[in-house]
Symmetry: C2
Subunit: 416 residues, 2 copies
């Protein structure tokens, strides 16, 4: 009796039960099983690039010479703060100094800090829907309500108009959050659109949180933009940045928060003190990299992603009844498939289908949509495989789509 | 006009304004200024040991061979999960498997996860006061109310009795949080006390969160205890652990959360997914270290901390009117000084005092007390300097105390 009682346990918090699993990582187990069955799985599902990290970062790791792996300062190592500001000012001339910067564990932590210092539980942040799925996780953690402003594939996920945006602002709205270039849509805001967002934030007394993780990945002759170029030192703007994608350093967990709002930076710093510091070795290596890396690395990465985008768009546009578009930035795109339920299709690809020993793992886009039923027929594709593999992966996807439709039509699929 | 408007900004959230700065790090600026004036600052204020990190960890860093620093799994790298469980089971035979473990960014993140999955905003966690100051930061972040149960230096900060504890349990109490061995008091719970805590948690349907960061640092013949030895696989217990202090790896930011509560682990895992993963390079190096490190490292570190404790207690007990005790574990102790305001004294030490070109930096203990006015005359000392330096630092402290008292008495202090 006592033993049974001992093994019961109190229930969890409501927020624990409300925090959604990552939709991007949800099907990972099925993919692993497929691999174990000997099937080659082309992974277009997650933003983990295959591009090599800069040798300068790896040199920084190998050159780590401290005898004691000590805490770094809660704000970040002085050397990394200095070198990141230098690098930002060289590219964007925004006049950043370490006093405006806080080093964080990836953009993720910077966003959590931003949510917490801007909003109390129940306050609202406006986002464009579909959105980066983990924003939904951050909102569950921080108790912030995300208010989704619908964007659609029919208009290539364009930034909504000012009237549209203002219609969604309520007395509880505290901030507008924009991922530019956007994950998952690849939309890039024009200067005019950025100026409109700044004007709305100013007039409606809101914070503008800019997630610039993909900043340099803009195509078709567009110029990368840091929002502080258009609104120098504006204290209502918070820029969140990350080394993860730009330098293929997802596992380093190094990001930052940049703001000229002194009180806000201080409050974020107090939260940062509670978690002590970001990892020391990656900070040392990142500073070494930023101090020594020439412009060629990023140029090559940029060219590679643009080429992959072109390959992906071309290959997808050849599949009947698939709707997509050429994203102007980032390294994702959404594609609407001729299926009723993209998650069922993605599961089919991992559990029932293979073509010449291979299958393709795509992310169902429903997890990126906040509105009920959004993105049900849509998938997200990441440009994380080299051009040949991307082409091959989409060819397999096309075969899978045909097999799936045939199965649904009751005919035996000859590729099974 | 527009320009002025542009430069205003919305106010911060209440929780941002409520998050306290770290009391441990508050005086750091003054210490830096003292150093810049050429004064040698003995730093007894922060738990950053001078003990060298294991060579096996540094070898793991230098041996990192990945070309792409990729995301790790959100739960943690399989290799680190395996090796940490093996190491725990070897020392404590608790039968841990990776299914019960989540790798986190230090114990800090594990505690934030535990607060969030156990409590909704407004729920309560019982703590013993004084407490680890950053728990107060975590409570501000998570909206959890910490309810302080007073402990006193007069009883050497003993664990309160069952009756005492039960008196503080309310309908909102969701968990009891115990740091064992304790930071900042050094108190070690006996088996009887641990069993009492388990019994209270079971009978009152509470979670028991055990912060075992300092687990191996127990002295005077005590045996290190993992609570799961006494309550195998009890799903209401959450153990939070860290490599920071045990292996002098504070800057690696590698901790873990261990629980047999499957639903709880899953909820914490969903939060972990939102922040993607813990740093990859430190995880690889930590796994390498746990797989290859012999028992000598920890034995030597343990002996060193015990010797430092003895030196510190002996030196302090020689200073007139200082009250302290010999802590049975951890690497801190509290000492009550014959001063009205220990923060004022600590500031004096950094700004006005030096003895033979040196001063001593101690942490005012008030920041570790939740109850109003608690610890006002008390300081925390960390055993982070070698024996000779600890002895020297406390000798300087004694001189400083004399000078401070003389100044207060209106006499010119001859050491100024």
């Amino acid at each position: 009796m006592l033993c049974v009682r001992a093994m019961t346990s109190p229930s969890l918090s409501h927020r624990a039960l409300k925090t959604p699993p990552s939709p991007i990582r949800r099907l990972a187990g099925l993919a692993q099983e497929a691999s174990q069955r000997g099937i080659k799985v082309h992974r277009l599902n997650i933003g983990q690039p295959d591009v090599e990290s800069p040798q300068e970062f790896l040199d920084g790791v190998a050159g780590y010479r401290e005898k004691v792996v000590a805490y770094e300062a809660s704000q970040g190592s002085q050397r990394l703060l200095d070198s990141w500001c230098r690098s930002l000012n060289r590219d964007y001339a925004i006049g950043a100094t370490p006093s405006q910067m806080l080093i964080t564990m990836g953009a993720s932590e910077a966003l959590i800090f931003a949510f917490m210092v801007c909003c109390d539980p129940g306050d609202e942040i406006l986002i464009f829907d579909p959105t980066y799925a983990n924003y939904i996780g951050f909102s569950a953690i921080s108790g912030v309500r995300l208010v989704p402003l619908p964007c659609s594939i029919e208009s290539n996920f364009a930034i909504p108009s000012r009237e549209e945006i203002e219609r969604y602002i309520s007395p509880y709205t505290r901030a507008i959050l924009v991922c530019n270039p956007n994950n998952p849509t690849g939309t890039v805001a024009s200067d005019g659109e950025l100026e409109m967002l700044i004007a709305v934030a100013r007039e409606r007394d809101l914070f503008l949180i800019m997630d610039e993780t993909y900043r340099e990945f803009v195509y078709d002759g567009l110029r990368p933009r840091c929002i502080f170029e258009l609104a120098p030192k504006d204290p209502r703007i918070i820029v969140v940045d990350s080394l993860s994608k730009r330098f293929s350093l997802c596992g380093a967990r190094i990001g930052c928060l940049l703001t000229w709002h002194e009180e806000l930076r201080k409050a974020a710093f107090h939260i940062a003190q509670a978690r002590l510091s970001a990892p020391s070795i990656e900070q040392a290596a990142a500073a070494h990299m930023l101090d020594t890396l020439g412009p060629l690395y990023l140029g090559a990465a940029h060219a590679e992603y643009r080429a992959r985008r072109d390959v992906a768009v071309r290959a997808l546009s050849r599949i009947p009844d698939v709707r997509t578009y050429a994203p102007q930035g980032g390294f994702y795109l959404l594609a609407k498939l001729p299926v009723g339920d993209a998650e069922d299709f993605a599961t089919f690809m991992l559990t029932e289908f293979s073509f010449q020993g291979a299958t393709t793992f795509v992310a169902p886009a429903a997890g990126f949509y906040m509105r009920q039923g959004g993105g049900k027929s849509t998938i997200r594709i990441a440009f994380v495989l080299n051009q040949a593999d991307t082409e091959q992966a989409i060819a397999v996807l096309a075969e899978g789509l045909r097999a799936y439709q045939e199965r649904r039509a009751g005919r035996p699929a000859d590729s099974l």
